[in-house]
């Protein structure tokens, strides 16, 4: 792989109380690449994603072992400020979840909570982010209207814009198109393709065709283990392991 290593997961174990949800996972993420995490429901791919920005800290009785390095620094180090970490690693969720505020305030939110007060700077960043998220042309006349008046697809792009506004280095996407219709999905996928030049993108998806379309590298999870990871084109034409092949060809179970 001739790209810069951005994040590196080393021997990660994750426990919900006594249940071991992730077992000995080691995986690298490269700048400028989209990595897709696939696998059946409950395989741990979403749990894994949420370890990457310490979203799992919120779950009581959960425990993490192993290391996750962001630019060679362990994000689980006790010196790390979680809020700062999360402003470096943005997240887009399964269901579009804009705040019940105006479109402008939604995008500005991340800037405000991170202490930016300069009004022109905020306005510029909002415009820029909406542009990056390919939403500006659709909303430029109504950025002071409620974000909840947008369509599902637009709301999801707004959520992407909201994440982009604070210029994260890595963007985590948890099934970002699963609640959208095919056209909205296509727009999100095109957007991912555009954004990967600037960000390291990690996406969890149920939709294998989507993984195949948008990602450069695919990792297959099963029962809390990382089974196989490879370049997406290789994994989808000639996977090395039978388990992977059975899953992607639908021969499972």
């Amino acid at each position: 792989m001739d790209a810069d290593l951005k994040m590196s997961v080393k021997q990660l174990n994750f426990f919900y109380d006594k249940f071991k949800a992730l077992e000995n996972i080691s995986l690298d993420f490269y700048a400028g690449h989209v990595t897709a995490l696939i696998g059946p429901s409950g395989c741990g791919k979403s749990t894994f994603l949420r370890c990457l920005n310490r979203m799992n800290d919120l779950i009581p009785k959960s425990r993490v072992e192993g290391k996750i390095l962001l630019d060679n620094e362990d994000i689980y180090d006790c010196a790390v400020n979680v809020a700062t970490l999360r402003s470096r690693i943005g997240m887009v969720f399964q269901k579009p979840n804009p705040f019940p505020k105006t479109i402008f305030e939604n995008v500005a939110y991340g800037l405000r909570v991170n202490g930016i007060k300069d009004k022109t700077l905020i306005a510029d960043r909002v415009t820029e982010s909406l542009n990056q998220a390919a939403l500006w042309d659709e909303v430029k006349d109504r950025i002071y209207d409620s974000a909840l008046e947008l369509s599902g697809g637009q709301q999801q792009r707004l959520c992407i814009a909201r994440a982009l506004a604070i210029k994260p280095e890595v963007i985590l996407m948890d099934e970002p198109a699963s609640a959208l219709d095919p056209i909205a999905t296509q727009k999100i996928e095109e957007l991912i393709h555009q954004l990967k030049k600037m960000f390291t993108i990690i996406i969890v998806t149920h939709n294998m065709q989507q993984a195949a379309r948008v990602s450069d590298i695919t990792a297959f999870f099963y029962m809390g283990k990382l089974i196989e990871t490879d370049k997406t084109d290789t994994l989808f034409t000639r996977p090395k392991l039978k388990q992977t092949e059975d899953y992607i060809t639908g021969r499972f179970g």
Partner: protein, 302 residues
């Protein structure tokens, strides 16, 4: 119905009496439910009608703007209206911050554990304490022990305490309706938990919190027992000048006129008039709550 023909639709195989019976049962039960709902509405209508019929003659400008005269057999009830308003506002001012803060702690911060369960048990029991006990507690603690005397402050504190469980409950419910994804989105953008609560969770929950709070207070405003030992007096013609003054209040005034007055029969119209004012006041608060919620919701773009 032991043997059914798999090829025929199941509805064709049901015995006709069975179908008729089911329909009959449904009609009966719906009628019962409707009747139960009707009793509610009728009760309110009867109360209102009764009060209006007997009380409307007493209502006039003097009644609303003058203090009582001639051993409370004539004159108005201005000190009572003002007193009740002061007590209600005071109770809100005390219980709203404490209630919201407690609910935030319980819903957003506290995990699950023994201490939390004890606190919850405490709150639930507080809700079940009879109001006269609150009154006695207010008398013993605020009036005597803290030396506040019979005063607006002591009454407001007692009423505030009385409405705390309602406010905590309403706030917790309102906080629970805020989608978890909002919190996640906010935290995911690098906001701290406190920022998330103040910028996202509370604004979203505010309509629900305020509605619950006002409903709790309007309930407390009509209480007699907690204020009769702590704030209200039999008669004082002057309006209060500080929070340490004693006052008259509508519920207590009704109680006094109808049980301990000099001429109970003669003051009947005054009693009904006062009750009408109290009910209008309480309804007014409820209406204000509804309007406020609607406005907040609109502003929140929900």
């Amino acid at each position: 119905m032991t043997k059914t023909d798999v090829k025929k639709p199941i509805t064709e195989q049901l015995a006709l009496p069975h179908i008729k019976y089911r329909k009959f049962k449904q009609t009966i039960f719906f009628a019962l439910f409707r009747f139960a709902a009707l009793i509610n509405g009728t009760a309110l209508a009867i109360i209102l009608f009764f009060l209006l019929k007997n009380g409307y003659k007493a209502i006039n400008w003097t009644f609303l703007t003058q203090p009582p005269i001639d051993s409370m057999t004539k004159g108005g009830i201005l000190p009572c209206i003002v007193g009740t308003l002061y007590l209600s506002l005071g109770a809100i001012a005390i219980s709203l911050p404490i209630g919201i803060a407690s609910a935030i702690y319980l819903n957003e911060y506290a995990g699950s554990g023994r201490v939390l369960r004890i606190i919850r048990l405490g709150i639930n029991n507080l809700a079940g304490v009879p109001s006269v006990v609150f009154g006695l507690f207010g008398l013993a603690f605020f009036v005597i022990y803290l030396k506040m005397g019979v005063s607006i402050l002591a009454g407001a504190l007692t009423l505030g305490l009385l409405s705390l469980p309602v406010i905590i409950g309403a706030t917790e419910e309102a906080l629970k309706t805020v989608p978890e994804t909002y919190r996640e989105a906010s935290l995911g953008l690098g906001a701290t938990k406190l920022q998330t609560i103040f910028r996202v969770v509370l604004p979203c929950a505010m309509p629900g919190i305020l509605t619950g709070a006002i409903l709790g207070i309007s309930r407390a405003a009509g209480e007699t027992a907690p204020i009769m030992f702590t704030a209200a007096v039999f008669f004082t013609p002057d309006l209060p000048s500080s929070i340490f003054d004693e006052i008259m209040a509508l519920p207590y005034h009704i109680y006094v006129l109808s049980t301990a007055g000099t001429e109970i029969e003669a003051t009947r119209p005054l009693q009904y008039g006062t009750s009408l004012v109290l009910i209008v006041l309480v309804f007014g608060m409820n209406l204000a709550a509804i309007l406020l919620r609607a406005r907040l919701r609109k502003r929140m773009h929900i």
